[in-house]
Structure formats: structure tokens, C-alpha cells
């Protein structure tokens, strides 16, 4: 017995060291960024301060504010509409409102630039209707400016707000709203004084995801000609080869990220209040006639703009291209294979690290405060914009490469420098750091559903810690692991900003392929690549919808 418990303790120690390493891996880019930024020469800094930073900072802040307001309005409005009212198509629409999640910001920008091009189909139709002959006589306002970017990004990012607030509305007790009505507050006053304050924590969570995604975006801003901080990092590094300057801008972005996270924490204080156990949930109020159709139209509008139009455009372009030019080029197919391969590797690494972090946190006995903070720290990578992460990774990864080279020299093996940096593996590492929170989150939720008594029973039946994990938890965690795998895979497929900076020479993914074509202005096979990404992004949404339908039916049974 004593030997057994000793070995379990050793196993636990191993797990905890693993978690410590994962935490360091996330922290390393941030630390190296600090070092890089401090090393920058003062000359560069004043140049940046004078010419780049103020403009980029203001553009970024306006973009964040605009996208935040628009996505909050669309998300909260949509969620309230499908929760509080009943109208034709409500069930379908409440699912379909998630669809824009499948369209990354750079794809929506790519699609609309062509759709709304002065000699494109929409402007042509408008001119035809109004009786104008040429684009010189009449054209719609150009998309390539700040309002255009806010509009497009708001319409694809609002589902984060929609999802979090909808689940909050659905669990809110109807009696609170009824109480407000009986105390003399009409529907509008009730919405602003009761419904919205109660949904504030959910709004804070959803909005922070939207803003982090906006800050991370590089493709849409670049296509639309917005000089944001992210774009500045990229151009400072790639075009001007000024790594220290890029690091300094990245550091500024990091400050914005920290401010955002602090605001989110502040916003969801007092999250603890929840609906009473016996409270009956809100019943949607049936709408009739014109009101019902207006509601359906309002709920459908974000889906049409954020998903249907761009998806239909990509489909039409792809089919047209395939019919005219035959099968896609070998290079594009190769990029597709690259994407799937690197996403699979990233998925495996992320799942493994997620298991290490979640399981170590699970088996901690009376943890110190710093130990309890470790899993949270390890999942902060999601908040690092891709460009910031890429610059932060340069130094640690190169250092590791040098270490490996030194090792090989001393072992008398053939020396080859830059094993990680020159290979796609560095991409997988970057994805794993960014998406670790997904796998840790799902595995933690899965572990919570395993009754402690089950674990205790296994241990009392003389099973070790690792044996319990293998024989009890892992089988029960299968659904959680599958969810995490799917989400990480799809997010890796879509990733653009870190991929652009870290990919080896001549290594293309679908996302960088699309970026290259849009940057050159040659709309050739980009639509095929974009359609592949969107289709992959639809898979988890469909899985989620099926899951919700099952639980929905479960409630009625």
C-alpha cells in the first residue's frame, strides 16, 4: 500500500512539472517580447513614435470601438429577438445566427471587395436600376475605409456576443421580467433596467472575444487599407526588417490586450447570481402579422450579410472556376494538404498539453495560490494576437534551435541549424499556445462531470493515479476530447496572422494562399481556398446545433 501511494505521488509530481512547462511556454513569448522591445535603438523608437504609432493606435481604437458597438447591438438584439418572441422560422434562425462564425474576417473582406467592386455585380445592378451607364457617373461608397471595416467585421464577429447572451437570456427567470412589468415598467424600460443588466456578464465575455478577434485581425484590415497596429507590426518587420520596432508595437498591443481582459473581469463581477431553482424560464411571446414578418426579417439580416452572401459568392466563384479551368492547381492542393497536416499536428499537441494542464489542476491537493493560478496562466495564450505571439516566439524558438545544434555538434552528428524555425513545426507550436484554452476548457468541463466518488472508488480498488486517468477518466472524457479536437483543428485551419509571420519559405496554407492573392489583387483560386476554410468552419457549428437539438428534445422527454 505504501509503495503504491508513493508511486502515485511521483506521478502527480510529473504531471505538475508538465503543467509548469506549459505555463512557461505561454509566458516565454511575452518575456522575450519585453527583452526585444527594450533592446530597440532609440532612433527607431522616435521614428515609430512620430510616424507610425499615433495613427495606427487611433485607427485601432476606433476600429475596436466600432466593431464592439455593432457586434453588441447585433448579438444582443438577435438573442433577445429569438428568446422573447415567437415568429415564423424562429427555431431555424436562432441556429443560423451562429453561421457567420464560420467566416473569418479576412474572408468576408475578400468576398465583399469583389462583390461590391465598382464593376462588380451589385453596383452594376444598382446602376442599371437607376439608369446610369458607367461607374464614373455613379458608384456606391467605397468599402476600403474605417466604416467599411467596422461594418464587415461587426457582421461576422457578432455571434460571440449572440451565443453568450442567448444562453443567459434562456436561463433568466421569467418572473423577474413579469415582476418588473407589474411594478410599472413597460417592455422597453424592462429590457434596459432588468434584462440587459442581468445579461451584462455574458455580454462582457462575448464582447471581449469579439475585440480580441478584431485586434488579431490582419487580413481584413490590410485588404481594406486600414493601418491598424497589427498591420503595422507586420509591415515594420517584413517590409522594413525592423524587428525591435515591430516588438515595440507588439508590446503596445499587449497593453491593449491586458486592458481588455481587465475590463472583461470587471464586467463580469457578481456573476454568481443565477436564476432560482424553481423559476420557470421565459416563454416567447407569439407575434402575428406584420410584426412577425418584421421580426423574422430583422433576425435574418445579419445571417444574410455575414454568411449567405459571402458563402454564395465563394460557391459561385469556385464552381465557375472549376468549370472553366478544370481541377484546381497542384500548388493549391498542396496548400490544402499543408493546412490539414499542420492543423492535425497542432490539434494533437494542443490536446496533449490541455490534458496535462487540466489533469494536473484536477489532482492538486491543497494547492498554493500560485499553483492555482497556473492553469489560468497557461490558457492566456488565446488573448495574444497572432502577430504578437509570432514575434514573441522568435527568440525562444531560435534559442531552442541553437541548443539543439549545440547538442548535435557535441554528439558529433551532422550539424543543421534552425530545426524548428525553418520547419512548419513552429506553426503548430504557435497554434497550440493560442488554442490551449479551448482544450483545457473542454477537458476541465468534462472532468467536472466525473463524480469524485468514482475516482475515489478507483483509488480504493488499488489503482494508481495514472491508472485511474487511463481506465476511468479518459473513457469518460471522450466527448470532451472530441469537441476540443474539432474546435482546435478548425481554428488552426483559419489562423492567418501568426502563420504569415512564422511560416517557412514557400510553405502555403489555404489562409496564406488567399492572403497572397488578395494582396496581389489577382482573384484566381482564392475563392476555392476560402470556400474550403468556410466549409471546415461549418462542421463544428453543425455539431453544436445537433447537440443543442438533442438536449432540447431531452428536456421535453
Amino acid at each position: 500500500m505504501i509503495r503504491l501511494s508513493w508511486s502515485s505521488r511521483q506521478q502527480a509530481r510529473l504531471w505538475h512539472s508538465g503543467m509548469l512547462l506549459a505555463g512557461l511556454a505561454v509566458l516565454a513569448p511575452v518575456l522575450s517580447l519585453l527583452v526585444l522591445a527594450v533592446q530597440g535603438s532609440p532612433g527607431h523608437w522616435t521614428h515609430l513614435l512620430d510616424h507610425v504609432l499615433p495613427h495606427a493606435f487611433v485607427q485601432t481604437v476606433i476600429l475596436l470601438a466600432g466593431v464592439g458597438v455593432l457586434s453588441a447591438a447585433l448579438g444582443v438584439g438577435g438573442a433577445w429577438l429569438v428568446t422573447a418572441y415567437d415568429f415564423p422560422g424562429r427555431t431555424t434562425l436562432s441556429w443560423a445566427l451562429m453561421l457567420p462564425l464560420a467566416v473569418p474576417t479576412y474572408i468576408v473582406a475578400y468576398a465583399y471587395l469583389d462583390i461590391l467592386h465598382p464593376i462588380g455585380p451589385v453596383q452594376g445592378a444598382v446602376r442599371w436600376v437607376l439608369g446610369y451607364d458607367s461607374p464614373r457617373d455613379f458608384r456606391l461608397p467605397d468599402l476600403r475605409n474605417l466604416p467599411g471595416a467596422i461594418l464587415l467585421m461587426g457582421f461576422v464577429l457578432y455571434p460571440y456576443v449572440y451565443l453568450t447572451t442567448r444562453s443567459m437570456f434562456a436561463t433568466q427567470a421569467a418572473s423577474l421580467i413579469e415582476a418588473s412589468r407589474l411594478l410599472g415598467h413597460g417592455p422597453r424600460s424592462t429590457f434596459f433596467r432588468v434584462v440587459l443588466p442581468l445579461a451584462r456578464p455574458a455580454l462582457a465575455v462575448g464582447l471581449s472575444l469579439v475585440l480580441l478577434e478584431t485586434l488579431n485581425d490582419i487580413g481584413a484590415s490590410e485588404f481594406l487599407g486600414i493601418q491598424t497596429l497589427t498591420v503595422s507590426v507586420y509591415t515594420t518587420w517584413i517590409s522594413r526588417s525592423d524587428l525591435a520596432g515591430a516588438a515595440q508595437i507588439a508590446l503596445l498591443m499587449l497593453c491593449l490586450v491586458i486592458a481588455l481582459i481587465a475590463a472583461e473581469r470587471q464586467g463580469r463581477r457578481r456573476l454568481r447570481y443565477s436564476a432560482g431553482r424553481r423559476a420557470h424560464p421565459l416563454q416567447p411571446r407569439p407575434l402575428h402579422g406584420a410584426a412577425a414578418w418584421l421580426a423574422a426579417l430583422l433576425a435574418a439580416a445579419p445571417i444574410v450579410v455575414g454568411f449567405l452572401v459571402p458563402a454564395a459568392y465563394l460557391l459561385e466563384q469556385t464552381v465557375g472556376r472549376l468549370l472553366q479551368e478544370g481541377p484546381p492547381s497542384a500548388q493549391l492542393l498542396h496548400a490544402g494538404l499543408n493546412t490539414v497536416g499542420i492543423s492535425l499536428v497542432a490539434m494533437l499537441i494542443t490536446l496533449f498539453l490541455g490534458l496535462v494542464v487540466a489533469w494536473s489542476a484536477h489532482i492538486m491537493v491543497r494547492p498554493q495560490p500560485w499553483q492555482r493560478a497556473l492553469p489560468r496562466l497557461a490558457t492566456l495564450g488565446y488573448a495574444l494576437p497572432g502577430t504578437v505571439l509570432a514575434i514573441g516566439l522568435l527568440f525562444p524558438v531560435t534559442a531552442m534551435d541553437h541548443g539543439l545544434a549545440w547538442l548535435r555538434d557535441h554528439l558529433g552528428l551532422e550539424s543543421m541549424r534552425l530545426v524548428l524555425m525553418g520547419s512548419p513545426l513552429v506553426l503548430a507550436v504557435a497554434y497550440a499556445i493560442r488554442f490551449l484554452t479551448i482544450s483545457v476548457g473542454s477537458i476541465e468541463a468534462g472532468l467536472m462531470r466525473v463524480a469524485p466518488s468514482m475516482e475515489q472508488a478507483a483509488r480504493l480498488l488499488n489503482e494508481t493515479l495514472n491508472g485511474t486517468l487511463r481506465r476511468v477518466h479518459l473513457p469518460l472524457l471522450k466527448p470532451a476530447l472530441a469537441t476540443a479536437a474539432l474546435l482546435v483543428f478548425v481554428d488552426s485551419m483559419k489562423e492567418l496572422s501568426a502563420t504569415l509571420l512564422l511560416r517557412p519559405m514557400n510553405f502555403e496554407t489555404l489562409a496564406t494562399w488567399l492572403y497572397g492573392e488578395a494582396a496581389r489583387g489577382t482573384y484566381e483560386e482564392g475563392a476555392i481556398a476560402a470556400l474550403g476554410i468556410v466549409l471546415a468552419g461549418l462542421v463544428p457549428l453543425i455539431a453544436l446545433a445537433r447537440l443543442q437539438q438533442q438536449t432540447h428534445h431531452g428536456h421535453h422527454a
Binding site: 423577474l176 413579469e178 415582476a179 412589468r181 407589474l182 415598467h185
Partner: protein
Amino acid sequence: MDIMLELDRISVSYPVARARQHVIQGLSLDLAAGQIACLLGASGCGKTTVLRAIAGFEPLDEGAIRVAGRLVSSPGAQVAPEHRRVGMMFQDYALFPHLSIRQNVAFGLRRMAAGPREACVDRMLELVGLRALGDRYPHELSGGQQQRVALARALAPEPDLLLLDEPFSNLDVDAREKLAYELRDILKSAGRTALVVTHNQAEAFAIADRIGIMQCQCLAQWDTPYGLHHHPATPEIADFIRRESLLARRATACLRGGPEALEVLDDGPGGTGSA
């Protein structure tokens, strides 16, 4: 005496699988101003639906509802809940978790100037004995305290009619009887007309001036507690009242441990009712 609440042959139904299922059918009652009435019946007999119809959350199929002589509900015509001058204490109290106790009580007083509003909140908290807890939040209070906040909040706008949905169901059995008398005192001193819904006969007899027995979507008898006890309209009602009061007597007797206990315990069948 003024009639404060008048239900005139009201019917309410829910859509169930493309058909409509009646929950209340042809129910009528009058309640005089200043009186406290109780609707008593087994769960699922439509008691709560009556309250929700009076509050304006359920449309009527037939009949009419008048509050203080004003028509508020009829088929196809509904006064919005916020314009009915009807207050309600919900079964789960429905206290706003994001507002303090004071803010909860003040919620219905938004048309009042700040000074009188604060004075009114003070008065209400005084009335329910929670003056010291105004700055706390609902989750920091016990069940009994939450119930009193809910009462103060519902009374503050001085509604013509107060509805109470199972006011004691979330409380310990020990606290119920004490709070039932307390509730009656508060309502009477505030001079309110109230309609209480409960499935517990002891509560009904403790607070009501009038009791309505609800059976299968209708009102089987509408009478004073005295009349109900001594002249039950049907054998079923007689049985219902006898069984329940027997249980209550037995429980008190057991608690007191007096000689009555044994006698009551020997009293025979009927011990399976819901206490």
C-alpha cells in the same frame, strides 16, 4: 362595500399539440376592498393561472376581469401588466439580483421624486422589519427575509390589489405559521386587498377572510373560513377539509406532546394527504 376584484366567468386555455386545453373554465368571484382571500386547491388545478390572468400574463378566452371597477381583461382586449395597478409576490420572489434591497423596493416608484421615494422605501422596510438591511443584496438574505423584501417591493407602489403566489412554499415549515400571521398583520395595517394562492389549508385558514376551493378548473366553493368549515358545499370539500385539518391537529398535538396526541393518532384513516 366596494368590490375591488371581479372575475366574471373567465376561461383560460393553453395550446397543447394544436388543440387547446382548458386550465380555467367559467370561474367567477368577487372580492371586497380590504379583504384577504385565499384560493386553495391541489397543485395543477389552475390556481396560479388565475393569478397570472389577473396580472395580465395570460389572455382570456371568455369572460372579464375588473380591478377597482375598471375592465382590465376581456377576450381580445388587455391592459398591459404595468398599467393595471396590480402587485404580485412571486413564488420564487423574483428579487432583482443586480439591485440592492433598497433599489429593489424602489423599483416600482420611478415616477416619484427622489425625496418622497426614499421616504417611502424607508417606510416599507420599516413595515416588514428590514430597515437595517437596505444596502445588502438579495443573495445575502435568508429565505424569510427575501420573502419580506418581495412583499415590501410589491406594496410600495400602493397597488389596488396584491397577488401572492404560494408565499410560504420556499420557507421552513417552522417559519411558515409565524410568517402567515405576520403577513396578515402587514396586509391589514397597509389596508391592502389581497388574493393568495396556496395548497396548504393551515396557511389559508390563518390569513384569509374568504377562501375559495378550486377543483378541476372551477371554483367549488367561495366562502368565509367559518362557512367553509361548518357548511361545506359538497362531500368532497368536507372530506378535503376534514383530512387536512386532522393532519394539522395531529401535527400540533405531536409537537405539544399532550394527551391529545394519542387520541388524535388513534383517530383512524386519512393520513396520506399532502401536509
